[in-house]
Symmetry: C2
Subunit: 339 residues, 2 copies
């Protein structure tokens, strides 16, 4: 499988620029065992915004993956229950439906699998186990009714299915880049177009290809991983980019040390700060780091400006959404005994 990925990566890097980059598709991939429905999406949206999925009622999915903003919290690393800091930068939930694995280290194959992580993570939402989450959901009549109507019963897996269905609606279309690719030649500025050419020319699109600029289309669960950093340079130590061993922490395979799922570049201008540890505060500096560390290239400020102009053209339209109403339990508090 790894050889296959490497082969695809090489193919992507030698493809013509126009073919390596793709406009956002009209349809989102959906697993056969979790078809979308409006009722399921509505339930998933409530769950996504409900801080009662955390032990003390303070942290929801949206706390770190803020869909009213860029789908992140714009912090280096996130803050979970009891003021605890996570170890990695929260990836955006927008367009995550197009990734073939989830989390920085690809440890979840699907959005469903990903959604099952944070509620039970002691430094994120801190619930003790799946049953505790199910018990809490069952104690809220408005949830119990919806789960029963949609799935037959409340379960942790069904919670994840509902959340994933909502997340599959979080797609940003019509970025200047997408409009350019669909024929609107006035959609991108000349500078952004020059940046796109440079992006292809120097090799960024070798990895940042495909509909999400996160690698080629692969079967769900496959994952498109790359070593980062590859070339040594002073920025690596400055931003502590090798401290976290990345996918190695999942596989314990030495070949995976400092290997990461290639992150999407869609809406990248809105998701600062950058990298797995959120150590780089601006997109210009992130481009400088990437060119030096992955391509062994020292870019000039004007070259970086051009590429940033291109990356800014990847900011899509965030669709208007209604707020969910979180179902209450009349006259009683689920987290009332926790001080």
């Amino acid at each position: 499988m790894k050889q296959q990925i490497a082969a695809i990566a090489i193919m992507a890097s030698i493809a013509t620029p126009a073919l390596a980059l793709e406009a956002i598709p009209d349809r989102v991939p959906t697993p056969s065992d979790n078809p979308m429905s409006s009722a399921k999406i509505a339930l998933g949206k409530q769950l996504f915004f409900d801080p009662r999925l955390s032990i003390d009622g303070t942290v929801s999915c949206n706390s770190c993956h803020n869909v009213m903003a860029s789908g992140t919290d714009n912090r280096p690393t996130s803050v979970g229950v009891n003021g605890q800091r996570g170890g990695r930068n929260a990836p955006t939930v927008w367009n995550a439906a197009f990734l073939s694995t989830q989390f920085w280290d690809g440890r979840a194959a699907t959005l469903e699998d990903q959604a099952k992580g944070p509620p039970l993570n002691p430094i994120e939402m801190g619930m003790p186990n799946e049953q505790a989450v199910v018990d809490r959901l069952e104690s809220i009549p408005g949830y119990r009714r919806q789960f029963e109507a949609i799935f037959g019963s409340v379960s942790y897996d069904n919670m994840a299915k509902a959340i994933a269905s909502y997340e599959r609606t979080l797609i940003t279309e019509n970025s200047p880049f997408d409009r350019h690719m669909k024929g609107d030649k006035s959609a991108m500025s000349d500078k952004a177009i020059a940046g796109m050419k440079r992006f292809n020319q120097i090799g960024c699109s070798g990895c940042h290809s495909g509909v999400n600029f996160a690698g080629p289309a692969l079967e769900t669960g496959t994952g498109f991983f790359q070593k980062f950093p590859v070339y040594n340079n002073p920025l690596i130590a400055k931003y502590k980019l090798t401290d976290d061993k990345g996918r190695y922490e999942v596989t314990r395979d030495k070949a995976d040390i400092n290997s990461w799922r290639v992150p999407s570049l869609r809406n990248i201008a809105t998701t600062a700060p950058y990298f797995h540890n959120g150590s780089v505060k601006t997109l210009n500096e992130a481009v400088r780091v990437m060119a030096a560390s992955q391509l062994n290239k020292q870019l000039s400020d004007s070259e970086i400006d051009e590429i940033v102009a291109f990356l800014e053209s990847l900011t899509g339209e965030f669709p208007e959404q209604t707020m969910p109403r979180l179902p209450d339990i009349a006259g009683s508090s689920l987290v009332g005994s926790i001080k």
Copy 2:
């Protein structure tokens, strides 16, 4: 002024039941120096949901006053930046526009004054001073543009005006009680109607009168305060109800020890846990405490059930809202340097 309030309180308590309670009005009171506009409301909604008003980008107004739920966080006391716990239960923002003072101790006359508190409170949003908030807002082009168009400039006062304007849209109409008062005699159950009669009869409506069940209509800034608890009983110590001295902390007038702004009962069934310290987890127990502590009455379980049925009829319709889009700053993070 205090005598005047006392006189009004006595009038309310001797008024006929039908007159002491009022349906929610069609119009919300608005100060002459802050007229509402759709642009101002839209800006206020963004600010209300924006965690960048807190020092580390984790806490927004909505974190503790969750408008997707009951307008509270359903916790005993709230959690601010760095996992810090506040000392008092977060009051609901829904229908707060009808109160003549804000905060549990009435220390803010208006919604505008209230909105200026939490951003600078070190255990809530933790910004060091007004200028730091203004600087942050000015560094976000989408905010700067809106402030300039609406107010002429960014200022802390203008931020508060925008937030207050949004909050004045947070009104829940058409509760079963409101429909009952407007002539729909099938809106409330027989049990709820019996509970309403008992609520009036035993004296709850002596203080919980008016459109918000929070006292009579008074000039903005006046405030309708009552001592709590009045009558000693074992529940007071159990729930530590006298530890916090209430309005005395504002005025340092001994007459104000354990004096509190009478809280609204609208949507009370959705805002558990109860009281200034959030020490009581269920509405039934809260009614028992109030009857014992304010009216020197030991209610039976069935009497409490009736009153709770009435209180549940005060849950209104939460209007559907669109989510705001929080303006970004392209390619850079405002909180990116804070770990």
